[in-house]
């Protein structure tokens, strides 16, 4: 019992710290791409900036506008935040290092991802003002459409490994090969849908600062805002972690099988973290490169290209798996 509590607290703290420093990294990387410095003033290289931001957010007054539906308004950020953090519990961070191993962990991650959408719907609806409303409509439509190709892209993997457990998927890859090679189409589909699923640029229509003043969290003050923010970055981390686990071999990597015991755990963790951060860099890189899509383009892209491609991928994988 006590051990589980320690595990949970360690994990939540790790995720929150990683998210805090992700905001720092994002500002630095985007700054560098735009030939600027990014954050610089607070601490060496601006390293204390996340703490300054958090301090500012938690000391703000927790104010809610008159027109909102109070209970839903208060609970919406939690509904977004909790599933985003909860999904980390089934990710195998390294050889033998996870909070819980359930046999359907892949399904669990996807289910939690879908739950987050409700938070966004509640936030937009309960804010009772026009921008959050439009934004939450957009983002639900977007997230529901992009969940389909996201799931479809993972079915190929399930066919190959014959398992829904992330732990077993990684072990399969450790024995055979990284699934990105036989499932390259699946990986690309997953990558595109993951960007859309996390509401990141170039698919960030729901949060379009320029049109919708921040989107569904327009009305949120202090911690409510911070929770949405944390949830967005946590789900970026989650999507990267799932992509790494499912397609890029998780903790496996060169020479990992020559070690055992705690050395294997440490090296596995290192591989995992490096891969996750490479993917996180790509997230930021995409944001710095592409302009936002138009809404109808976004929807037709999902339904006309990604979903047929996902179905094609499943059939192809199934046929090939049957033949070989």
């Amino acid at each position: 019992m006590f051990l589980v509590l320690v595990q949970i607290i360690t994990m939540i703290l790790t995720v929150v710290m990683a998210v805090a420093y992700m905001t720092w990294m994002e500002r630095k990387i985007i700054g560098a791409i735009q030939n600027r410095y990014g954050v610089k003033h607070t601490g060496p290289f601006g390293l204390l900036q996340p703490f300054a931001d958090v301090l500012k957010l938690i000391t703000k007054e927790s104010f809610s506008p008159d027109q909102v539906n109070k209970p839903l308004f208060k609970v919406a950020p939690l509904i977004v935040f909790v599933p985003a953090i909860l999904s980390f519990s089934v990710i195998p961070f390294s050889y033998g290092l996870w909070v819980s191993d359930i046999s359907v962990s892949l399904l669990f991650v996807l289910a939690m991802g879908s739950l987050g959408t409700y938070g966004i719907v509640f936030a937009g609806w309960s804010s009772n003002s026009k921008y959050p409303m439009i934004s939450s409509l957009r983002s639900t439509a977007q997230m529901i459409s992009y969940e389909v190709p996201l799931f479809l892209s993972l079915i190929g993997v399930i066919i190959l490994t014959g398992s829904l457990s992330l732990k077993e998927i990684v072990e399969y890859q450790n024995e055979h090969m990284w699934l990105v090679f036989p499932q390259i189409l699946g990986f690309l589909l997953f990558a595109v849908s993951a960007v859309a699923e996390t509401n990141r640029a170039p698919f960030d229509l729901a949060e379009a600062e320029t049109e919708l003043v921040g989107g569904f969290f327009t009305e949120y003050p202090s911690m409510g805002f911070a929770l949405f923010f944390l949830a967005e970055y946590a789900s970026m981390f989650l999507m990267s972690a799932v992509a790494v686990t499912v397609f890029l071999g998780g903790w496996s990597g060169p020479f990992i099988n020559h070690f055992d015991g705690s050395a294997k755990v440490v090296i596995g963790l290192m591989y995992f973290v490096i891969k996750v951060y490479v993917l996180m860099f790509i997230f930021v890189w995409l944001r710095a490169t592409f302009p936002r899509l138009r809404y109808d383009q976004l929807m037709s892209f999902a339904w006309l290209y990604l979903i047929p491609l996902g179905l094609f991928n499943i059939i192809l994988t199934a046929v090939l798996a049957y033949i070989f």
Binding site: I29, A32, I33, Q34, N35, R36, Y37, K40, W285, L286, A288, T289, F290
Partner: protein
């Protein structure tokens, strides 16, 4: 449709081109000036705090003709006149420009018939003192003249000539006249 077009359309090579471009930009030197820590090099045409030319050490070129006072749209120049200690004519005894009112239009330097008042490049106007401390008096203005001369000698603004020239040929003529 050629093969090339098909590849471009369906493999999204343009997206990759864009990403390669932004990635290259990471290694381009930064363009930001870290302003409070580094000084900013103003372009030579920038109009900043005034200076007053001196004919010779201790004798300003101003003859207190009042032209600048009349030309000033912000009404911020005040001067009093006195007899010139060496020879005939008159000079300004007190000459103050209220920098808090001044809009840095440069009319005073344009109209001055004796080439006395000029606008320098310094933009550091902030002060912790009162409104009074924004008043630039004669010693201050002539002092600025010598800093300005030093800067010219050390070519402190040289780096920006190219930029100025690029934007306006007219300004180049003016620069040469300076």
């Amino acid at each position: 449709m050629s093969t090339r077009d098909i590849i471009r359309k369906y493999l999204f090579t343009e997206l990759l081109q864009g990403m390669a471009f932004t990635f290259k930009n990471i290694f381009v030197p930064k363009v930001t000036t870290l302003y409070p820590y580094e000084s900013v090099q103003m372009p030579r045409r920038a109009r900043g705090i005034h200076y007053m030319r001196e004919k010779e050490e201790g004798l300003t070129a101003c003859t207190a003709c009042n032209t600048c006072v009349k030309a000033c749209p912000a009404n911020c120049i005040a001067l009093t006149k006195t007899k010139c200690p060496t020879g005939k004519g008159s000079i300004a005894e007190e000459y103050t420009i209220d920098l808090a009112k001044c809009i840095f239009c440069g009319y005073c330097s344009d109209v001055c018939p004796y080439d006395a008042i000029h606008l320098g490049h310094s933009l550091h106007l902030a002060t912790q003192g009162s409104r009074e401390s924004m008043k630039a008096d004669l010693p201050f203005l002539t002092g600025n003249y010598y800093t300005y001369l030093d800067e010219e000698e050390n070519d402190a603004y040289g780096v920006n000539y190219g930029l100025v020239r690029k934007f306006s040929d007219k300004s180049q003529v003016r620069l040469q006249e300076d």
